[in-house]
């Protein structure tokens, strides 16, 4: 039992901090998922390319594909530091999900071709998995891919496409085997947005971000844009989701907690510092507990990886906790701050309007499947209850 960073890990942490000090002015920190300001977006893309140039987007990838071959804990340390600064890292569908799919099921040639580009963020990829009828139940997707000579003809509709308006490629899951169902016969493609038949309609969201419906109308896609094997899509997606790098979700909450704690120390209510209010103290204690829960869940992942142990509880427990904690955590933040917490950034807004933004963002806890579905996985795969 130990929770300790080696001197090498501490110096890596310092290297990350130095990079952020140099490249990320505090006023440019923002939540890239929920900000559509064009200038901020440009900054974020440039910033992300700088991270890519250091090799850090592919920090854990094998060196032969442009990665640095570093262990998951280094990715987690980087993620902790980036989250503490709210670093606007964009394009994670490319260097995260797409790369995860390739690493899980791509051929050597495909990995050699795509990964270095993704690691530099030369390619900007949007997500084309979910469909209007296939959300938590992704395996019910209906978009089809039909061979036609050397090409594929892809036809269908995707939804929730985050960052679609900025992307050049769509990571597309399509049913390539006619009449296949559920997990079989799904193939992955990278579809260029500029092909004939690709169109979008925008769907702004409650968080302030922009998602899209993406329509694929008999889009003719060259065979080289298929990734992984024909029919191997489901495995790639699952392993990309579950086998990806270890993300420091706790630091996201920790950053918010520290902001709220600072607010409570600096503000008063009824002539008394907020931090001395007995109810506020209990609520702060609850927030601190949730941060610690998330931290230990992250560390458990690292520990399991180090010990080559399978994740406990079917890998679903931490996902469930994270999804269910998010609304509760930010609702408590608002209760602490009080009625003015409903104000967006402005002169009178406590914490510069952050509490208001967190509140809206907190409704975005369904990506990758709802907590209700993850509870089923936890109960059946994790606890062995019958399906």
């Amino acid at each position: 039992m130990q929770i300790r960073f080696t001197p090498e890990q501490e110096s890596w942490r310092q290297e990350v901090r130095d990079f952020l000090d140099a490249e990320l002015p505090p006023e440019m920190a923002f939540d890239v998922e929920f900000d559509e300001d064009e200038a901020l977006w440009e900054f974020s893309a440039d910033f992300t390319r700088k991270v890519g140039a250091k090799g850090w987007l592919g920090l854990n990838w094998p060196t032969e594909y442009g990665g640095l071959g570093r262990p998951p804990i280094d990715r987690m340390i980087m993620s902790e530091e980036f989250a503490h600064r709210e670093a606007p890292l964009s394009g994670s569908i490319g260097w995260g999900l797409t790369a995860g799919c390739l690493l899980a099921g791509g051929s050597d040639e495909q990995k050699a071709h795509w990964l270095p580009q993704l690691g530099r963020m030369d390619l900007h990829v949007a997500e084309g998995l979910s469909e209007p009828g296939a959300g938590s139940d992704l395996a019910s997707l209906k978009t089809t891919a039909r061979r036609d000579g050397d090409d594929w003809l892809i036809d269908g509709q995707k939804t929730y496409t985050t960052w679609g308006t900025h992307a050049e490629w769509l990571l597309t899951a399509a049913r390539s085997e006619p009449n296949s169902s559920r997990h079989h016969g799904i193939t992955m493609f990278l579809v260029p947005y500029d092909l004939p038949g690709v169109s979008m309609s925008p769907m702004p969201n409650l968080g302030g971000g922009m998602q899209n419906h993406t329509f694929l109308d008999q889009v003719r896609v060259p065979a080289e844009y298929m990734i992984g094997e024909e029919g191997g899509g489901w495995n790639m997606i699952m392993n990309a989701f579950y086998g990806g790098g270890i993300h420091a979700a706790h630091s996201y909450y920790e950053r918010s907690f520290r902001e709220v704690l600072k607010h409570c120390k600096q503000s008063s209510r009824g002539g008394r510092p907020l931090i001395e209010d007995p109810l506020v103290r209990q609520q702060l204690g609850r927030l601190a507990l949730m941060v610690e829960q998330m931290r230990m869940l992250t560390y458990a992942s690292v520990s399991n990886h180090n010990n080559q142990k399978a994740p406990e509880f079917g890998g679903a427990l931490g996902v469930v906790v994270g999804k269910e904690m998010r609304p509760e955590f930010f609702e408590i933040c608002q209760e602490i701050v009080g009625p003015l917490g409903q104000l967006k950034a402005g002169h009178f807004s406590p914490l510069g309007g952050q509490v208001e933004a967190w509140y809206r963002h907190s409704f975005a806890n369904h990506a990758g499947g709802t907590s209700q579905v993850k509870r089923m996985v936890l109960a059946t795969r994790g606890l062995g209850l019958p399906r």
Binding site: D137, M203, L206, Q211, E335, A364, S371
Partner: protein, 373 residues
């Protein structure tokens, strides 16, 4: 006799309000109004006034319809269901009822204009610490040589200040916790400055700054030093209507969630067949039904002049928490779909955040209930 049903006239009023708002203020219109310059429709407001709703609870002698709080309650169910933006709660309830009860003859002159929808009075209560109640008032009203007062400070979350003709301002006139005085102040007065406050709900809320605003002695409403007591009866009544608005909206949210759960299929069946989704929908139903029962009781007790501090506070605590819980559970039913602005649910979600805090959050009302026990 225990009978929790509305009477025939109330049922008729509710029906006509539902029909009226369905045609005059569908959710598509609510979306437009949120992004319009004024944030509400003066035209719709005039039509509501023409139906006697702007003066529904004012005495007939003041141009009102002499309705009860329960009459207002059914109207607010429909205001909530349809998410109608209007200055009604601030102007027609808090301000008008306070002036009708405690205003001078001169101050009461504006009542018929409130009832006709021609004049708007906005209450200015909250301040920078965000607390509800007399103790939190810091806006200074200092006595002037001329026998009046001078206001210095700022009020926050003032609804409809941008179209208000008058402001009903609670200010501090002494060091004792409850030493406040209520003033009726022309919004155009020199030194009064208004600034919009962007908020979750997209509701017309404002900061109003008072920079050495000189008031004459006749600006005082009710007794000097008794500002909170002067306001309290109207605030109590308004808080019950805030509950009603939440209940009306909750009905719409429950219907939406049930419809979606029946229609949306995943894993080969309607999601409403999954027990997890059944729990979410039944959570909403439970919060809704309890909020409704408690709020109706509070409204009736107020109308009857019975002691009501405990019942009213508990109704408010229930509704304030339910406002958040109901929309959260609905979002779990809608999952990613509910996060899209194109889905109507989010209109309710954002408004619920305003309602949760308006006229005291749960913490305040639990305290108030225990105080009265």
């Amino acid at each position: 006799m225990i009978d929790l049903e509305f009477d025939e006239q109330q049922v008729l009023l509710q029906q006509s309000a539902r029909t009226f708002f369905a045609s005059e203020c569908p959710l598509s219109r609510v979306r437009e109004l949120e992004h319009s310059e004024l944030g509400y429709s003066p035209d719709l407001w005039k039509k509501m006034a023409a139906l006697d709703w702007a003066g529904l609870s004012l005495p007939k002698t003041q141009g009102g319809a002499g309705g009860s709080l329960l009459d207002l309650y059914v109207l607010y169910l429909e205001l909530g269901r349809a998410l109608v933006p209007s200055p009604h709660l601030g102007s027609s309830v808090i301000a008008a009822e306070t002036l009708a009860r405690a205003g001078s003859a001169a101050q009461q002159r504006c009542l018929s204009q409130i009832a006709s929808g021609d004049l708007i009075v906005s209450p200015a209560l909250m301040e920078a610490e965000g607390d509800y109640g007399a103790e939190a008032v810091q806006l200074a009203a200092a006595p002037t040589a001329a026998g009046g007062h001078r206001l210095d400070g700022a009020k926050l979350l003032v609804p409809y200040a941008h179209v208000a003709d008058q402001l009903l301002v609670l200010a501090r006139t002494g060091p004792a916790p409850d030493a406040t005085t209520l003033f009726l102040v022309e919004a155009e007065k020199k030194g009064v400055d208004i600034e919009g406050l962007d908020n979750t709900a997209g509701y017309p809320l404002f900061a109003v700054r008072f920079d050495a605003v000189e008031l004459s002695a006749d600006a005082v409403v009710g007794a000097e030093g008794a500002g909170w007591e002067t306001l309290k009866p109207a605030l109590d009544r308004a808080s019950v209507l805030q509950c009603a608005e939440i209940v009306g909206a909750g009905e719409a949210v429950l219907e939406m969630a049930i419809d979606y759960a029946k229609q949306r299929e995943q894993f080969g069946q309607a999601i409403g067949k999954f027990q997890a989704v059944q729990y979410l929908c039944s959570d909403i139903a439970i919060d809704l039904h309890l909020s409704s029962l408690l709020a109706r009781q509070a409204a009736w007790r107020v109308d009857e002049g019975l002691p009501h501090q405990v019942e009213l506070a508990l109704a408010n605590a229930q509704a304030s928490e339910a406002a958040q819980r109901m929309v959260r559970q609905a979002h779990e039913v809608f999952a990613g779909h509910g996060f899209m602005l194109e889905t109507d649910l989010q209109l309710y979600t954002r408004r619920a955040k305003y309602w949760q805090y308006n006229l005291g959050e749960a913490r305040y009302h639990f305290e108030a209930a225990v105080d009265a026990l």
